[in-house]
């Protein structure tokens, strides 16, 4: 029994997204595909305990889920058209189950999840649920909203996909850049490190990092001509490589400048470098490639023992041109302060409208740091207080309290 449980779990983990994508791409009904697959997984527990685990568990699940979809469509009758579609795919699915692998439609599913007709706030949760089978409660926890609300948003989005007839296809060339941007944005939101390592880490989505990296890797493999996909993958790998160094043994927060480079993951940094180099060869720079390049300069410290702040400054100049986000502008100010002195950095921070940063932790942390360097007390203490009060991570809060003194 244990063994069957494990087999069902393994099949679900490995194949969930592929099965949902395959079924939904043909029925355009994500919720229906999910229900059918859940039923198939339940049936597997029973049947596999009795008859043993089939040779191709994935194919078994696909056949069973497809049968459920057809039964339900027949039963409802109201959607006569879909019965026809589903019957048309029966033969194809039969072939698919006898072949070694059925077509991988996950890329199409990603583009559906991040379609402009879907509320942008639900793009990321939808991907996590459809491609990984994460339940609404876990996604809700990561996004800091109630499970009921998250459940409702997901249901609404799936209904919209079905009823609005959103096509399961990879967008055509001229549409691709804009549509891809939404997909990348949603994956990055799952990773959730806005402007990491200054003093603030957004830990709330931290537990979705593996899923995000996995999605980006798949996207980069499937769209080798799109450099930003590789850029995003490289960026997340660089950040992830430093994760073990971000906390001391006793849980203390360690800022980037004080991290032990021996704790950085070499294999991840190497994969990041190769990915970024391959993306850069396409000679179409973008936001994620630039952010990855900044992290690449930081990673260089593992070899050279120093940080090339001039290089980082010019990369931030480029980033602010490409995507003038608050995070990019604050990052540029911090880099300029390192390269040319705190006065210059402070001047850039002062250009940012204060209303925009009233609740933006990173701004206050960088401001406090620069004011302290300029020996401008008590302004520095005030800025530290704002940064401390806006910290979500208690390790960061303790770190800043110590800095403030």
């Amino acid at each position: 029994m244990e063994e069957v449980h494990r087999a069902v779990e393994a099949a679900a983990r490995e194949s969930y997204g592929r099965l949902i994508a395959y079924l939904a791409a043909r029925s355009r009904d994500v919720a229906g595909a999910e229900d059918a697959l859940s039923a198939a997984l339940l049936a597997a527990l029973e049947t596999w305990s009795r008859d043993g685990v089939p040779q191709k568990p994935e194919a078994w699940l696909l056949t069973t889920a497809r049968r459920r979809l057809i039964d339900r469509a027949r039963h409802e009758r109201t959607r006569a058209e879909s019965v026809l579609t589903l019957q048309l795919i029966t033969d194809e699915a039969y072939e698919a189950t006898t072949a070694d692998k059925f077509p991988d439609e996950r890329l199409k599913l990603l583009f559906v999840c991040a379609h402009p007709a879907i509320d942008p706030g639900v793009h990321t949760p939808l991907m996590l649920q459809c491609v990984f089978g994460l339940d609404a409660a876990r996604i809700a926890r990561a996004f800091l909203i109630s499970p009921t609300t998250m459940g409702q948003r997901l249901v609404r989005a799936k209904t919209k996909i079905r009823d609005a007839g959103i096509a399961f296809e990879v967008p055509r060339d001229h549409e691709l850049p804009q549509r891809l941007a939404a997909v990348l944005e949603a994956i990055y939101a799952a990773y959730g490190s806005g402007w990491e390592d200054s003093a603030g880490v957004d830990s709330r989505r931290g537990d979705l990092t593996e899923e995000a990296i996995w999605l980006a890797r798949m996207l980069a493999q499937k769209l080798p001509a799109e450099p930003e996909a590789g850029g995003l993958l490289a960026l997340m790998l660089y950040c992830e490589a430093r994760r073990p160094a971000r906390r001391a043994r006793d849980g203390r927060y360690v800022p980037l400048s004080e991290q032990d480079v021996g704790c950085w993951s070499r294999p991840m940094i190497e994969e990041a470098e190769q990915t970024l180099v391959a993306a850069a060869k396409l000679a179409r720079p973008g936001r994620f490639q630039t952010e990855a390049a900044i992290q690449s300069v930081h990673a260089e410290r593992a070899h050279s023992g120093r940080t090339d702040w001039l290089a980082i400054t010019s990369l931030y100049e480029g980033l602010v041109q490409l995507a003038p986000s608050l995070g990019a502008r604050i990052g540029r100010a911090a880099a300029v302060a390192e390269a040319y002195g705190p006065e210059q950095g402070l001047a850039l921070l002062n250009e940012i409208e204060t209303t925009a940063v009233a609740a933006y932790q990173t701004y206050w942390a960088v401001l406090a740091h620069l004011l302290r360097k300029l020996r401008r007390e008590p302004e520095a203490t005030q800025a530290y207080n704002r940064a401390i009060g806006l910290s979500e991570d208690s390790a960061v809060r303790q770190f800043l309290l110590k800095q403030r003194g």
Partner: protein, 115 residues
């Protein structure tokens, strides 16, 4: 919209008000208060004395039933409240997550009923 944050603290949190951790404890709270005021969202709020100082009153059949202690015996107890003026629940949840008690106890967020 106004939201109330009900700050539920653990026994350790209450102890930290006066023991050797008190400086860090109050520094975090003062900074949190300053950040809310600085962001222009703070309306009012107060810390409460320890749960053991609470007294609960109920009227049963017209008779006063007075009980020593808080109304419910739970692991976390109400330690204070804050009312914020914010555009949305999401913004309120962001502030709740930054509350020092969120890492140790719990912060319940409720919209204030407009009368």
């Amino acid at each position: 919209m106004q939201y109330m944050m009900l700050i539920c603290e653990t026994e350790d949190d209450f102890k930290a008000r006066t023991n050797e951790k008190k400086e860090m404890f109050w520094a975090a709270w003062r900074a949190y208060h300053e950040a809310m005021v600085g962001a222009g969202v703070y309306i009012t709020g107060s810390a409460l004395q320890a749960p053991s100082t609470g007294t609960t009153v109920r009227l049963k059949g017209g008779k006063r039933l007075v009980q020593d202690g808080p109304f419910a015996d739970t692991k976390e107890q109400l330690g204070g409240f804050i009312i914020l003026e914010l555009p949305s629940l999401d913004a309120a949840l962001d502030w709740a997550a930054r509350c020092p008690a969120a890492a140790t106890g719990a912060v319940e967020v409720r919209p204030v009923l407009a009368m």
